[in-house]
């Protein structure tokens, strides 16, 4: 009934065979990794003097020379593992020097060969390292590799390499467009990838602002935030009224970073329908110490969105005497109940903070001024003055 012992024996046999396969696979991987780790250690020990030479003479005018014997590919791999992290962490002349050395050692050639490997993981490894090596000759190969590759994480890795190796802003532009159209990446991730490039991408980002594609618009807005040149194209302002919330936020953010705002603008954005924008502006005023806008914070601190209200209070506390005075006004209830609690909280906090950092004469005068303002509103008797 229900059972065939013969089949059961077969089953046992199959299970046992699979177990043996799994076990021998695991063990052989383990062994080979242990062996290669040991080989790597020995190899590094051999290169010890050489690597010390590189570190010591990195700053010397003379060029760095490759090791004085021909290298096997395992040795190249070991050197690559040591040198490329250095390349990644440095910039300027020292990086250039190391890159010339890597070329001389033959790392570029080694990886280019591996770029043709039948194994996708080897090709990816090569692409990754060629990116760090800033090998200008492989960009087009990497681009075709990108177009062939079909899954998210590889695309990201190859795209970074393209951004690192490319010499033409136009290639980066195409890369960004490709990523926007073919992946579901967060736009900030795409921006992060394009930042790997050392080219000036300002014109690329500006051209994105004129595209009829909201994702490209946003990448343009994000990219421009990192540009040193603060001349912001006029069209950015039109994005403030975009239908898309994220675009609106990015546009205001860009204007803010570029300090391209008049008092009227600030006033306007502090009453903008999106709380994120109000919050951002309130934060920015305090953070950048823009005392000329202190008075404008009276409105947002009283609003019902608690995040905006708290941010405004925090900014007021950072804005010197006038800011403190406004907090006191609010805490005394002159403007009604809204914002009263949070104002009190930040007054307490500010006074406590000022007491704690009582080391300079300036602080004492600052503290006295604060107390003076405080007493104007609340009189002398208060637990805080007692706490002193």
């Amino acid at each position: 009934m229900f059972i065939n012992l013969q089949a059961a024996y077969w089953m046992i046999a199959i299970l046992l065979i699979l177990m043996i396969i799994f076990m021998s696979l695991t063990l052989s991987i383990k062994m080979s990794k242990i062996i290669s780790a040991k080989k790597e250690k020995d190899c590094l020990a051999n290169f010890h003097s050489y690597l010390y030479y590189l570190q010591v003479e990195l700053d010397n005018e003379a060029m760095l020379r490759p090791p004085n014997k021909s290298l096997r590919s395992f040795e190249k791999k070991v050197l690559q593992k040591t040198l490329l992290p250095w390349v990644e962490r440095l910039k300027g002349v020292h990086r250039e020097k190391l890159l010339i050395l890597c070329e001389a050692i033959g790392l570029n050639e080694y990886n280019k060969k591996r770029l043709q490997s039948p194994w996708s993981i080897v090709r990816l490894d090569a692409a990754y390292h060629l990116g760090i090596l800033r090998d200008k000759e492989v960009t087009s190969q990497l681009i075709s590799m990108l177009h062939r590759s079909n899954f998210d994480s590889s695309i990201c890795i190859i795209a970074r390499s393209i951004a690192q190796t490319s010499e033409y802003p136009n290639e980066i532009k195409n890369l960004i467009q490709y990523l926007v159209n073919n992946t579901k990446y967060h736009l900030h991730l795409i921006a992060d990838i394009s930042k790997e490039s050392s080219l000036d991408l300002r014109s690329v980002y500006i051209s994105f602002l004129y595209e009829d594609h909201s994702k490209l618009n946003k990448i343009g807005l994000i990219g421009l935030q990192d540009q040193v040149d603060q001349n912001i194209p006029e069209t950015v302002r039109s994005f403030v009224h975009s239908d898309d919330k994220e675009t609106r936020i990015l546009a205001v953010q860009l204007l803010m970073f570029a300090m391209d705002l008049t008092e009227k603008d600030v006033h306007y954005y502090l009453q903008f329908p999106d709380w994120e924008i109000r919050n951002m502006l309130a934060d920015w005023i305090g953070y950048s110490g823009l005392t000329q806008y202190t008075g404008l914070l009276k409105v947002p601190i009283q609003e019902s969105n608690w995040i905006v209200s708290r941010t405004s209070a925090k900014s007021l506390a950072q804005l010197g005497e006038y800011g403190f005075e406004i907090l006191c006004e609010l805490a005394a209830g002159i403007h009604g109940e809204q914002g009263r609690e949070v104002a009190k909280e930040y007054i307490d906090e500010k006074l406590k903070q000022t007491i704690n950092t009582f080391s300079h004469v300036d602080d004492i005068t600052e503290y006295n001024q604060k107390i003076f303002i405080y007493q104007k509103f609340f009189g002398k008797r208060h637990d805080l003055t007692k706490a002193l």
Binding site: Y53, E61, N68, L90, H94, R95
Partner: protein, 272 residues
């Protein structure tokens, strides 16, 4: 300057050459190695070097009494001298002749007194008798140890520690390192360095807490260390916050060693 010089045949035999380089203001490299050699092996070393680096003219001398091998390289800079020393070391290692360290020096990069430099190199080798078979670059100690500035580097990234540590050491700083926040604090308490270079992304305790604790220690001990942040963190908020904590400089990775050193110099000068 009164200094006792270990007598060595190398000094005698290189004296004239060094004199010549110094007088005519030509660069030259000096390599000395603690090794046991005999005449055949010296000859094969010569042959080896001529084969590997045929373009470089060199003088060779062996001081059998002190077991010191000396090489004088014509017209080359420190970088090349150091590289050349790798050839020498390869040969000595291969023949199993090396019994101690090797020292590399260059006129005028290491010292503007060629002869004196050689004497000191030999002195250090004879007196210190270090056993580890490595190459090091001659450190012209005109600055006394106590006058050197000390730096504590705190970062979990060993590449940074190696690069920055060696670089600053070459620039005359005393370098200490720690790989996480907790160890960094222990080191700090012990050493009270002039400058701390730290990452914000630390483990154990975070960078902010680390900086905070340092400031506390300073307050208690009435000491003062400048703090420089060298970090992966690119955010404005972090820059702002670290400055509020009293940090003097904020540098993001990847970084330029030259810029970093310039900023360190400025900080250290302000301190003095």
């Amino acid at each position: 300057m009164t200094e006792t010089h270990a007598s060595s045949s190398i000094r005698q035999s290189f004296k004239q050459f060094l004199h010549y380089y110094q007088a005519s203001n030509l660069p030259c490299g000096v390599i000395i190695a603690h090794a046991t050699l005999d005449q055949p092996s010296i000859n094969s070393l010569k042959a080896h070097l001529e084969k590997e680096e045929p373009a470089t003219a060199f003088q060779i001398n062996y001081d059998a009494q002190n077991n010191i091998l000396g090489l004088l390289l014509d017209d080359c800079n420190l970088g090349y001298t150091h590289f050349y020393a790798l050839h020498v070391k390869d040969f000595l290692d291969g023949e199993d002749r090396l019994i101690g360290e090797m020292i590399v020096g260059n006129f005028p990069e290491n010292s503007d007194q060629a002869e004196q430099m050689l004497s000191r190199m030999i002195n250090e080798m004879v007196i210190d008798q270090r056993n580890q078979q490595e190459i090091r670059v001659f450190d012209n100690q005109t600055i006394k140890k106590t006058e050197k500035n000390s730096v504590l580097i705190v970062d979990h990234d060993t590449s940074i520690i190696h690069l920055l540590g060696n670089y600053l050491q070459r620039k005359g700083y005393i370098v200490h390192v720690a790989t996480d926040g907790k160890k960094g604090l222990e080191q700090y308490k012990k050493l009270l360095p002039d400058l701390v270079i730290t990452e914000i992304n630390l483990s154990g305790i975070g960078g902010y807490q680390f900086i905070h604790e340092i400031k506390n220690i300073d307050k208690q001990s009435n000491g003062h260390s400048e703090i420089m942040v060298l970090t992966n963190k690119q955010l404005e908020d972090d820059i702002k916050r670290t400055f509020e904590y009293g940090v003097a400089e904020y540098i993001t990775k990847p970084f330029s060693l030259i810029e970093l050193e310039a900023r360190i110099k400025r900080l250290v000068e302000v301190m003095e």
